[in-house]
Subunit: 286 residues, 2 copies
């Protein structure tokens, strides 16, 4: 496993790796480090699909708002590298902030519409930061496939739109959310939770499951959305950032879930903002 800190080093290492075999493919798993089983599931999916696997570790300053947790975001580089070595990763790209975001850079990639919904509405500029840096990573690493978790449903929708609209020549692979045995979706931010908050956080997935149960009978998206909000706010007493039942690709409001739906919520547990979601399949009209 090679660890590369600069763009030039990464490009040289990539070229060396792939020149051995002209038909070899490279998979990329972009991360912000603080790796957990969710990341490892992406790496395993990449290893199944591609001959070589690159993982980027970069806490992207552009995707954090001024009052968000950029400075205290967990950084666990040594532990991350130990895990990546165990998984058989080929390249680790861990650039410094100045390498990826030089002071004079003024170019952004922005997905309009989708990028302003769900997390994009709650966190202005967030997805512009994500798409700009992911676009740069695609140019630097030139992967044949890139792997993202369904846990970040809005991010997945935004990146799908970016790849399609700008004709990036790669496959975007979305892998299922990985959960603890009690249902909590894995997230690097779970480290912020106290024991008590950890218990409260379970309410998020409980509410999503309740919507899924109800959706077997109820196909009205607005009714389901109201049910989701009331589960979170009234039954569970959580502060809701958003709670929506929307189209999984466009993140737009829908009237019925018969065509499939994304049920997504962001809530505050203490000072920690957590997100989770489930996909409702194409419904059988009763």
């Amino acid at each position: 496993m090679r660890i590369l800190l600069t763009i030039a080093e990464l490009r040289a290492a990539r070229a060396e790796l792939l020149q051995r075999d002209a038909t070899a493919t490279l998979g990329l798993v972009p991360t912000m480090g603080a790796l957990h089983e969710g990341h490892l599931s992406l790496i395993r999916a990449a290893k199944k699909r591609c001959r070589f696997v690159a993982v980027s570790i970069f806490v992207n300053p552009l995707q954090f708002g001024p009052s968000e947790d950029f400075s205290r975001y967990p950084r666990t580089f040594d532990e991350d590298c130990t895990l990546l070595l165990q998984e058989g990763v080929d390249l680790v790209f861990a650039p410094a902030a100045e390498e990826m975001v030089p002071a004079n850079a003024t170019t952004f990639i922005e997905v309009g519409g989708i990028g302003d919904r769900l997390d994009g509405r709650s966190r202005p500029g967030h997805f512009r930061g994500v798409t700009t840096i992911v676009g740069k990573l695609f140019h630097v690493i030139a992967p044949h496939a890139a792997f993202f978790g369904q846990k970040d449903a809005a991010q997945v929708a935004v990146l799908r739109a970016m790849v399609r609209d700008l004709n990036f020549d790669l496959e975007l692979v979305v892998c299922p959310t990985v959960r603890e045995s009690d249902g909590l979706a894995l997230s690097s931010r779970n480290r912020y939770l106290s024991a008590e908050e950890r218990t409260q956080a379970l309410a998020l997935f409980r509410a999503l499951r309740s919507v899924a149960s109800l959706s077997a009978e109820e196909k009205d998206a607005k009714v389901l959305q109201e049910h989701l909000r009331s589960c979170l706010e009234i039954a569970e007493g959580l502060r809701v950032d958003y709670a929506e039942v929307v189209h999984p690709r466009t993140l737009e409001a829908i009237t019925t879930t018969n065509g499939g739906a994304l049920v997504a919520a962001a809530v505050w547990v203490g000072k920690t903002r957590l997100i989770d979601n489930i996909l409702l399949p194409l419904g059988n009209t009763p």
Copy 2:
């Protein structure tokens, strides 16, 4: 020479071309058609530098404002292809508008700062249209080098910034402006000019040359800029869109031309907007 109308066809043709020789390079000359000697000089530069050459012909709707000349922009596809065949071009990419700008696309590449100066100030949204489509062409054609004319000085500055900021893995090559024997910079829009306007249009280069002469003695950018404007407006009676002496890379105002300068102007000749520019070299302080 192969003419490809869709992204899928272009990608297949590119792969076929380059698989013959793994070390071969591909040069791209992006155009809006209506080809003239300026375009041909770019193609010849590309042929010198790269094993294969691709030319795109696409009148990009995103870079025209609502009251601009998109619908009447000259389209001379058959003549263009005859010229490209003579030049020994390998691939011609001539997509339909829907192929490059599908109705549901909402993603843009935008260069802040530089993109809002000179033509970017006069033509809001123009460079966002240019960068988005050029970025897409880079992803579709994956050239090793791309060739642009210095005639479009602001475009060159914007694209340099885009390539640098987003780490596109290609070389951007800028070729000198090609002029008629009387000095008029070649432009597809020269076709719009009547005989009388064609004579008036010479005033643009005359004014630029006058600034160049003066700049041998005078290094104050503001004085030179005022001289340029007064040449165009008062001496030549042209309606000026912009007339500036700026930094050639950032397009920002400068105080002295000792570090080199871009002298650029856009003027209206009848209903036709023409642009031209000259570069002042690093000056010897007198």
